[in-house]
């Protein structure tokens, strides 16, 4: 589903964030991306979401070669990926419902379909009763769940998360991880960048460990 082959990412200041990285995540797999801050976790996720492009090497996602994907096709490509961020990126001037509906509105779904799928998505994250609230009225954990509802509302085959539990206490983090596991159980490929070692060592999923832009030799297969 996600395949990196000899991927390099160099920035203008000649700092090399990724050096010759190769790995593969299977369809329907759930995996963690770990490593110290500055090891290149965020860069790696940005390459998958095409927020940035690799300097060298090949990135294949869902059978599409991102190196060759033209700029104008990026929006359509991104609709296949659900993105979850540490600080949610919710829009604070609109309701929970409207935030979750955004990907469907963009895709041009009909009014009725939007209502149906937004509610299904909010139900899944347990926030159906909060759809008329503004994000600011919700707790941190609830806001993160709204972010997840938005990421999965158009049923993408891939879910990417960047430090989704970064601001949450262990119990809430556990809940969030549960949610990701549920999506994985219905076939979604889930890839989560995190440094929450306490949490992931209790979970049975593969870890991809980055060390200075390379795979750490201790990868657990």
């Amino acid at each position: 589903m996600i395949r990196f082959t000899e991927v390099y990412k160099r920035y203008a200041d000649s700092h090399e964030a990724l050096s010759g990285l190769s790995f593969h995540i299977d369809k329907g797999e759930m995996a963690f991306l770990t490593g110290h801050s500055g090891a290149g976790k965020s860069t790696l996720l940005k390459l998958i979401a095409l927020i940035e492009r690799s300097s060298h090497g090949e990135v294949l996602v869902n059978n599409q070669n991102l190196t060759r994907l033209p700029q104008r096709k990026i929006p359509y490509y991104r609709r296949q990926i659900g993105l979850v961020f540490q600080d949610h990126y919710l829009l604070h001037d609109r309701t929970v419902f409207d935030n979750v509906a955004l990907p469907l509105v963009i895709a041009g779904e009909s009014h009725r379909e939007i209502g149906r799928r937004v509610r299904a998505s909010l139900d899944k994250v347990g926030l159906l009763n909060k759809e008329r609230k503004l994000p600011i009225a919700l707790s941190g954990g609830e806001q993160q769940r709204v972010g997840i509802a938005r990421a999965v509302v158009n049923r993408p085959p891939i879910l990417l998360a960047d430090e989704p539990t970064g601001n949450l206490d262990p119990e809430l983090s556990r809940d969030i991880m549960n949610l990701f596991e549920q999506f994985n159980q219905v076939g979604v490929t889930v890839f989560i960048a995190t440094h929450d070692h306490e949490l992931i060592k209790t979970l049975p999923y593969r870890q991809i460990i980055l060390q200075q832009g390379r795979l750490a030799p201790t990868e657990i297969a």
Partner: protein, 311 residues
Amino acid sequence: MKFNNFNAKTYLLRHAQVMLFSLGQLWRQPIASVMTVLVIGIALALPAGLYVLLQNLNQVSEQWDDASKISLFLQQDLSDEQARKFSQNIKQWPEINNTHYQSAQTSLEEFRQLSGLGELLDSLPSNPLPAVIIVIPSNNNLRPDAIGSLLARLDNLAEVELAQLDMEWLQRLRSISQTSQRGLTILAILLSLSVLLVIGNTIRLAILNRQAEIKVIKLVGGTNTFIRRPFLYTGFWYGILGGFFAWATLLIALGLLTGPINHLALLYNSQFIFHWFAGQMFVSLILIGMSLGVFGAWLAVGRHLNAIEPR
């Protein structure tokens, strides 16, 4: 169908929603919106008002075209019969449509009646007034330069003491009007440009205000077209409202002018009636405002959209 869930009805509905949404946004910031609309309206009203005045000026000068006659004052020593014959002669010229001969005697009678100086005139030993031929040029010779050369030719004839174009000031009016027309074009271009800049700047601020939203939309797969749409509709509304305000301004300003202008025309015994084509103006101003609005927004969004990328 390019997209499997693309649906024409949904698409149109979405456009209608965005259109109302952007109108609602203007409504939520009434003071800023009204100021922008006023600036656009005034910028549109100025050239439109000048255009109306110029059109009316042209109408006046066209009306007087019929009256651009040449008066030939004949030599005193010409006999009545010679003068009549001369009048018949020049009538054959292709440049001349008609001539109207008025003998020295008739001129005297006319003057006596108009001036009321009868007794004084009677005391003169001879008639001091010359015979006059009124020359009406052919229609295709009404251009100022053509009429000028005809005037010169007539003036050079031996029988003619003096050839005078009754309406020399008409030429001046014409060239003033032509100059003003060019000035108006320049003014209209400059003010349209300022409308573009005002709308562009307003949209630029709107984009900066919604930077976070644009980033999120890009992250969840929004195309540039999708992001651009509400801003284009914002420009659309500014343009339409500005056009409407310009029209209302003209309605009031020209309404105040109509009375005095028509009174002035009446004093000149003119058939002239001040027109300002209210209906036509309304449609033009709305359309021009709308086009400038959308175009200005397009320019602004194009410039700033690519600068906002998720990092």
